[in-house]
């Protein structure tokens, strides 16, 4: 695909091109190094550089970090205090400056877990800007980077876009470390893998690909990695950038990666043999590959008992049908096939439409667009006046439009049912595509009636069978179907009968439970 062709990578050439007044290498002089860092960052006021002596020795070292990005308590207690105070014991004899001194700092005096050495100003600047602390020592061109990331972050909350009645109440946050923790806390498997990337020329955000080795098909991992490696952009503000970059086709209304805020959903996807992608700075993780039926499933389907879940799934497929087809059917039946409507209802509709100056198609388009406007306005307005939108929408438009004879009451009912149905879909990404499809179906119905609807339905089906998400046909497990796949599409069979992972993922380890139980 054209957009995925490997692009020429500009390797930080900028700094080399315009000759700056600082050197890009670290040198052995402590003051020069600090000066270099300051010049590189143009001496911002949130950059803290502090030179202090090491205990009672004659040597000095310096820390540099960005205020606010770091955990200042950690720096003060474990780094500065340790080095200043703990080194004062008489047996600590420091004889050499430079590298040996740095090693002793590294090995003995820094009471922090995440410590590593670095050798270039590039690493140093990236470390400082990521919220790490750098320790510089005179006489060597090595520095120590200490993991002190901190700074303000949102507390863990219940995911707002995917609420469940039953299920864990934690959602991902913007902090990628928190997010990996949530996954680790759910899967304590030694084969859980986290592969990290730096994404963004400017933003250098961390992106983590996670999967369970031994379940996932190796081709999937190599394909995901291959696609991720082509990403080269200034900043991926949200995982949507990643999604749009690595998806199979952009000529489709359907999402090919699922986004979720729920750690339990990610954990379940991983055990199914899928891959999840986490990006720093967004609570939305991506899951790949996905299929059409995945998008109509909710994690709660597995938490509730199978009978209820099955019925809820029926309801959801019905909701999907209504969300896409109902306005189109209204148009088709009223404009082309009034004979299909039971005659009593037909009389009622005819009576209620009396005086409505527009055709059914115009009426439906007007109301659906109004509904879209209301929905959009409802998202955008500040919370306190959100109520107003409801009143304006519900009373003014619904009631007044009918009273004024612009639309028929039955149309208002249709719009309302359609909206409710599309809100009851578990995956927002699919709900969006259904909104697009709905207008397409309405257009088809306006032109060709039922013939148009069935043709449009066939078009959507052709599109879906041709669409793939990371090589998995979007229409799986309907077609191609897999043995036992029917147990978890429309119905959700009792949990103990779902002993195998989904066949279309071609998992290396097929069984996910042992019905006989662990008797040993």
């Amino acid at each position: 695909m054209a957009f995925n062709k490997p692009r020429k990578r500009r390797k930080n050439s900028q700094k080399a091109e315009d000759k700056e007044d600082f050197s890009i290498k670290l040198n052995t002089n402590l003051d020069d190094n600090i000066e270099n860092i300051k010049k590189l960052l143009d001496d911002p006021n949130d950059l803290v550089t502090r030179t202090f002596s090491i205990g009672h020795t004659k040597y000095t070292c310096a820390v540099a970090y960005i205020d606010g990005l770091t955990n200042t308590t950690l720096i003060n207690q474990m780094i500065i205090r340790n080095v200043q105070a703990e080194v004062e014991s008489p047996e600590t004899k420091v004889s050499e400056a430079g590298a040996p001194l740095l090693d002793r700092l590294y090995n003995e005096w820094l009471s922090v877990g995440g410590v590593k050495k670095a050798y270039s100003l590039d690493d140093v600047s990236l470390a400082i800007l990521s919220g790490n602390t750098v320790i510089l020592v005179g006489g060597t061109d090595q520095v120590i980077i200490i993991d002190t990331q901190g700074g303000p972050e949102r507390a863990v909350e219940e995911p707002t876009t995917e609420r469940l009645i039953r299920g864990p109440k934690v959602g991902f946050t913007e902090n990628i470390r928190t997010n990996t923790v949530f996954i680790r806390k759910r899967i304590r498997d030694a084969n859980l893998r986290f592969q990290s990337y730096k994404i963004g020329r400017r933003s250098k955000k961390t992106l983590i690909v996670t999967y369970i080795d031994g379940i996932v098909h190796p081709n999937l991992i190599s394909e995901v990695n291959k696609r991720l490696k082509t990403i080269d952009l200034d900043d991926a503000a949200e995982s949507g950038f990643i999604e749009q970059w690595i998806e199979d086709s952009f000529l489709t209304p359907f999402p090919q990666l699922e986004h979720t805020e729920r750690p339990d959903k990610v954990a379940q996807a991983l055990t199914d043999g899928k891959v999840a992608i986490l990006l720093e700075g967004t609570p939305f993780a991506l899951i790949a590959p996905i299929t059409f039926s995945n998008m109509l499933h909710s994690p709660e389907d597995y938490y509730e008992r199978w009978l209820f879940s099955t019925l809820i799934r029926f309801l959801r497929y019905l909701a999907a049908f209504i969300a896409v087809f109902l306005p189109a059917l209204y148009i088709a039946l009223l404009s082309y096939h009034p004979g299909l409507i039971p005659y009593k209802l037909a009389f009622f509709i005819a009576a209620s439409r009396e005086g409505v100056p527009f055709t059914a198609a115009v009426e439906a388009f007007m109301m659906e667009i109004t509904m879209e406007l209301l929905r959009e306005a409802g998202f955008r307005v500040p919370q306190p006046i959100g109520q107003t939108i409801g009143i304006v929408g519900g009373i003014v438009i619904g009631q007044a439009a009918v009273a004024a004879g612009i639309v028929s009451p039955i149309m208002v009912i249709i719009v309302a049912i359609t909206a409710i149905s599309s809100f009851s879909l578990p995956a927002y990404g699919l709900a969006i595509s259904f909104r697009i499809l709905r207008f397409g179906f309405m257009l088809a119905a306006a032109i060709f009636g039922l013939y148009g609807i069935i043709l449009a339905y066939i078009v959507v089906n052709i599109h879906i069978v041709n669409l793939k998400s990371f090589g998995v046909p979007y229409s799986t497990p309907f077609a191609p179907s897999f043995k036992g796949g029917w147990k978890d599409i429309v119905i959700r069979a009792p949990l103990t009968t779902l002993g195998k992972r989904p066949g279309y993922m071609k998992p290396k380890d097929k069984k996910r439970m042992n019905k006989g139980g662990n008797t040993s």
Partner: protein, 372 residues
């Protein structure tokens, strides 16, 4: 980007098993009860349908056995080995003509039916044109996707047909079925002949054999796949006669669709079930048309190996459209149908049987068994 296909792209047994009934169930089933009832008395037509069905199974078996001797070879390739190359080429050309005409027939028929049951004012040309565009869109995609489409559609179509049959049972009158066996031999034979057009379809195996993996196992799914329409036809015929009686069935243009008129949708949500039935039926007509179109494309590309698929599709499209527009009246369309079923005798019976016979006599087989 290199295709990443760990969810295999192949035409397996299941796909063949679905493709055959999707192909066979098309437009002919809609008029089948009339055609058969025309030459038989009371409900005796089921004998004709059964004989035609058994013959179809036999020839499906012959065709599948033939192609399983030549794994991964195109029709042109293996027929060249059996009969000389020029002869094989002319056979291939004949097949192309047959498939193209069949596609055009389906596209013509959809316009007739749609005009009758859905859109009485829209011009035939537009109805066909939109439908043809759809078929092109399906064929332009990958072949595996086309098979997936059949797997999606066939269950819907079969379930709708079964609902129709069950729903019509409320007005089913067993008296219409008796007495049994009052038809003479000629009547039965004519009935068999009449029902063939609704049964042909296994000849696509001649072409698709190049894709089937493993090819040796094509026989079983093909037979099972063919059983689906045959059983449905038998049930349909008996129910139609039971509901309408022989005399009425003879005079209905599309008895199968009319049957839906007798079905009452519970709760009275919709009236006129026949409109809904036909709307769903468009899906299977679409399957038939798209498979025939795809087979035509595949046969042509076996001759012009270097031509791109897209080019063949777009050259073929106007040809099919023009042919489909040629028959103007319903009688002309029916005659067109007769002509195609005449060609089908060659395509579906004589050619496979002859080729298998030659292969047996000359002992040519290129599957593993033959090699060993």
């Amino acid at each position: 980007m290199k295709p990443f296909d760990y969810a295999d792209e192949k035409i397996g047994q299941k796909e063949i098993g679905f493709a055959l009934p999707s192909l066979v169930i098309g437009v002919s089933i809609l008029s089948l009860p009339r055609v058969v009832a025309d030459t038989t008395k009371f409900a005796d037509g089921w004998v004709s349908v059964l004989i035609a069905g058994l013959l179809s199974l036999l020839f499906t078996w012959i065709t599948a056995t033939l192609v399983s001797r030549f794994p991964n070879q195109s029709f042109l390739d293996y027929s060249s080995k059996l009969i000389s190359k020029p002869l094989a080429l002319s056979l291939t050309l004949f097949m192309i003509l047959y498939f193209v005409l069949f596609t055009a027939f389906e596209i013509n028929y959809i316009a007739i039916l749609t005009k009758q049951y859905l859109l009485d004012e829209t011009p035939k040309e537009i109805i066909s044109f939109v439908f043809l565009l759809l078929v092109i869109y399906a064929v332009a995609g990958s072949r595996a996707a086309l098979f997936r489409l059949n797997i999606l559609f066939l269950p819907i179509v079969v379930i709708v047909l079964l609902i129709l049959l069950i729903g019509a049972l409320s007005v089913f009158d067993p008296k219409h079925l008796f007495p049994l066996f009052k038809t003479n031999w000629m009547g039965y034979l004519k009935g068999v002949k009449g029902s063939f057009l609704a049964m042909t379809g296994w000849e696509i195996l001649l072409i698709y054999s190049a894709l089937i993996r493993p090819p040796v196992k094509a026989v079983k799914p093909a037979i099972i796949g063919m059983c689906v329409p045959i059983i449905l036809y038998l049930l349909l015929y008996i129910v139609t006669i039971g509901v309408y009686s022989n005399i009425v069935t003879r005079n209905l243009v599309f008895p199968t669709v009319e049957l839906a008129k007798e079905v009452e949708i519970p709760g009275g949500i919709f009236e006129r079930a026949e409109t809904l039935f036909f709307t769903v039926w468009i899906m299977t007509i679409f399957s038939t048309a798209s498979i025939f179109y795809d087979v035509s494309v595949m046969t042509i590309s076996s001759i012009f190996k270097k031509t791109k698929k897209a080019i063949i599709i777009f050259i073929l499209a106007p040809i099919i459209y023009v042919i489909s527009m040629l028959p103007k009246s319903f009688i002309e369309v029916t005659n067109f149908g007769h002509f195609i079923s005449f060609m089908a005798y060659f395509a579906a019976f004589i050619i496979p049987a002859l080729l298998l016979l030659i292969a047996k006599i000359r002992r040519i087989r290129e599957d593993k068994e033959g090699m060993a």
